[in-house]
Symmetry: C2
Subunit: 515 residues, 2 copies
Amino acid sequence: MNGAETVLRAAVDAGITTCFANPGTTEMPLVAAMDSTPGLRSVLCLFEGVCTGAADGYARIAGVPALTVLHLGPGLANGIANLHNARRAHTPVLNLIGEHATWHRDADPPLNSDIEALAATVCGRVTRLSEPTGLIDQFADLLAFVRHPFAGPTTAIVPHDLQLADIPDGRLPEQLVESRETVSADLVDQAAAAVKGGGAVLILGGDALTERGLAAAARIIAATDVVVYGGGFPARVERGKGRLSPRRLPYFPEHAAAALARFKAVVLVGEPEPVSFFGYAGHPGRFVRDDQQMITLAGPTGPAEAYVEALADHLGAPVDVTPPAPRGPAQTPPTGPITPQTLAEAIAWVQPEGAIVVDEGATSTGELYFRSAAHSAPHTYLTITGGAIGFGMPCATGAAIAGGGRRVLSLQADGSAMYTLQALWTQAREGCDVTTVICDNAAYRILGVELDRAGVSAGPTAASMVSLMPRLDWVSLARGMAVPAVAVDDVASLIAAVSRSIAEPGPMLIQARMV
Amino acid sequence: MNGAETVLRAAVDAGITTCFANPGTTEMPLVAAMDSTPGLRSVLCLFEGVCTGAADGYARIAGVPALTVLHLGPGLANGIANLHNARRAHTPVLNLIGEHATWHRDADPPLNSDIEALAATVCGRVTRLSEPTGLIDQFADLLAFVRHPFAGPTTAIVPHDLQLADIPDGRLPEQLVESRETVSADLVDQAAAAVKGGGAVLILGGDALTERGLAAAARIIAATDVVVYGGGFPARVERGKGRLSPRRLPYFPEHAAAALARFKAVVLVGEPEPVSFFGYAGHPGRFVRDDQQMITLAGPTGPAEAYVEALADHLGAPVDVTPPAPRGPAQTPPTGPITPQTLAEAIAWVQPEGAIVVDEGATSTGELYFRSAAHSAPHTYLTITGGAIGFGMPCATGAAIAGGGRRVLSLQADGSAMYTLQALWTQAREGCDVTTVICDNAAYRILGVELDRAGVSAGPTAASMVSLMPRLDWVSLARGMAVPAVAVDDVASLIAAVSRSIAEPGPMLIQARMV
């Protein structure tokens, strides 16, 4: 077996069976090896940011990482924005970068660049595979690392000559998964005391947002006066009727700080310390004051679900409680023009059980998060953890491939959708069950809000910098990539179009023209 | 004046008057300052790779750098592939990256990442502006660096609070341009001796490929038996009737090494040592053998034009020579299906005087380079210097904005065009005079060639990884971004469509379906 075959087979043996690829010349042996690697599914993407975003979405749903195959430094660079989101989601991803032949690198050919430096900005581990004899051990070490559920992105640099080299027989070490943190009884004691003392807030993230984690949090609510928040941008949260719907920390710092101001203790379970998305002069950057107690049961990579359950048990909370139903007006199908409000009502109305909602709707989908929790059947919600735009359509693609028939609702802002629109082609090619809704307001609306916040009066140039005119025709863009598409101008038509899409296999795009 | 206004005004004072922007929240003060900066033209792009590629194309034509405005680390990362091309072209570019407020960075907010590490992979200088008092001096230093015509990309990281801070009055230092290398008489002596000795080859790059540089090379040909090559992928070369058309080094190493094998001396003027684009087992990585003399008059950033002229003078070459006319069959308008051959004949036939040809046609446009030299009126040719795909459409956009009415012919492969197709929207918005021809063979054809070279028999998965099916409908994609478009299936229709496009202002896209 050559190096390329050895690497792909070891990945499959470790349970990593899906590969999102945008290869070039230095990855050709890896491409050739795809055919001799049983059990590997290879998915072609027409831009590397699609590969990395799809790998993120895949692992968020499948619970196991995917491979990417990317071409040298520039190919990796194109994938970094979505690897940044995966890093903030702590999603395991394993990038395979074909590198120039070892003996040729000193010649500094045109595509040569510092792959390690690029990868290190987003990867917890970067390994340059170097010798045929050591390859199995080096790669096994990386596989063990990336099999941790919160490993985040990792990169293996695989020189072209090593891909072609004969590799001595070798078995992967039996024990691939690194041990995970365990629950500390002392920390649970501390948190229980704070919660029993009254005036505590629990902020959930990571795997505290699973069905089990949320059920445990509902038990704590039933037993104490604790208030439960979800973090700002969770990687994955289970939502819908019958599940606890934690409050969400507001986006702007003055609101978030105000929300937390009254609590004596802040208990973090699967979340880092809550901080402002951006720093605004005159507003707080950190939301927990020095005179408030802050207890971190688990950070984002910790065993958060286990901690919530341990805390509920320690507090002697009742089991099998019904979570408080989220407040919300009675649900009726909305009518009239499409606004952020009616769009949320419409999606919540039609969204099927088991849906995966991918939310990169920016200013247009803030309502949806709570609206669907109150009124929709159980579903899974994925958000843009790292704030790097261009997350949604690739993530939806990977989530659909992992979801095995679960309908993916991909809520997209028109501005952010343009970053990685190539994902639509992969959705068509793979027959992904993705319904994309473009929230079309012909603007970088969030930036208009930011200009207002900055208190500057936008001149004509600044105003034009946040205006998406000429207006994008998303129906044509989708059709250009073989995805059926329609445009709608009112919310009844939006509901009809989403319903039709859900009823039919494969992708569809709906351009929702908003007022 | 605040920091943002100071930076933009200093750039304009230094002659940098065009800005390609894809801003986010941390760049809002820079966006607001655009309106208070007289003489600055701001161009919105819907993806950062468009900004950086446009800045590269702009500077190649204008001879002065452009600004980009990019959002934090992920925004910069999206622009790195085209900055890589600019680095290999040694094109000056000045990136302004809005960074988190200084006081907020320790909180590690979601979009925080290592901007310096990313920038250092493609930039010759990276400066974090740090204090209001030192800002003018720090920025002047960077401006001086980037005003060198071969400076390559540079980056200024501008924290949000510094953009908003009051900046003390300060004048930019008078002397902004760093001194350039001068011609060494000793080196010219050595090269003249080698050329006079017979059996020498001159390889031209950098600014040896200007009209003056090529005229000087033609003089040397008239006086000696020297053979003149152009480097593999020149940043900019003046071509067309009446100009010397240097041979081009072949792409694959066995052909390139064979082309240079017979020479006793290799004289480099504006080029690095010629090496293989990729390393292939059993083929040479470097093309100049140890027993051949190699003289570097100037590397890619050296004063190559001055060296060719000095060498011609030193050799006593005649002045005002007519360069040898490139060989080629008599030109008639081609007919029949569209092949790489007929496509080249068609473009060479219709291409107007003063055209700027941007070539990212990969396997489809190899013929064009020579065909248009023999038969077309004088024009400028730009190529993909760093091999990072997604170069062409952004570069064409920037070249059109710098070109002031010169028609840009953007030759694109269907695979590579998908990387940065968002450039079409900017072409529509700005009314750029760009005619895009998509050489549509529904494949990553170059990778099929590479699979064949690797001697592997491609299985069905490998074959599907180089197939662009479902076929992209570029007419719809272009219309989605408000660019008029047509598809053509024969070369007579291609000629008619390109002619129509040339006759009308603004952009147009032509999907050339090849056989």
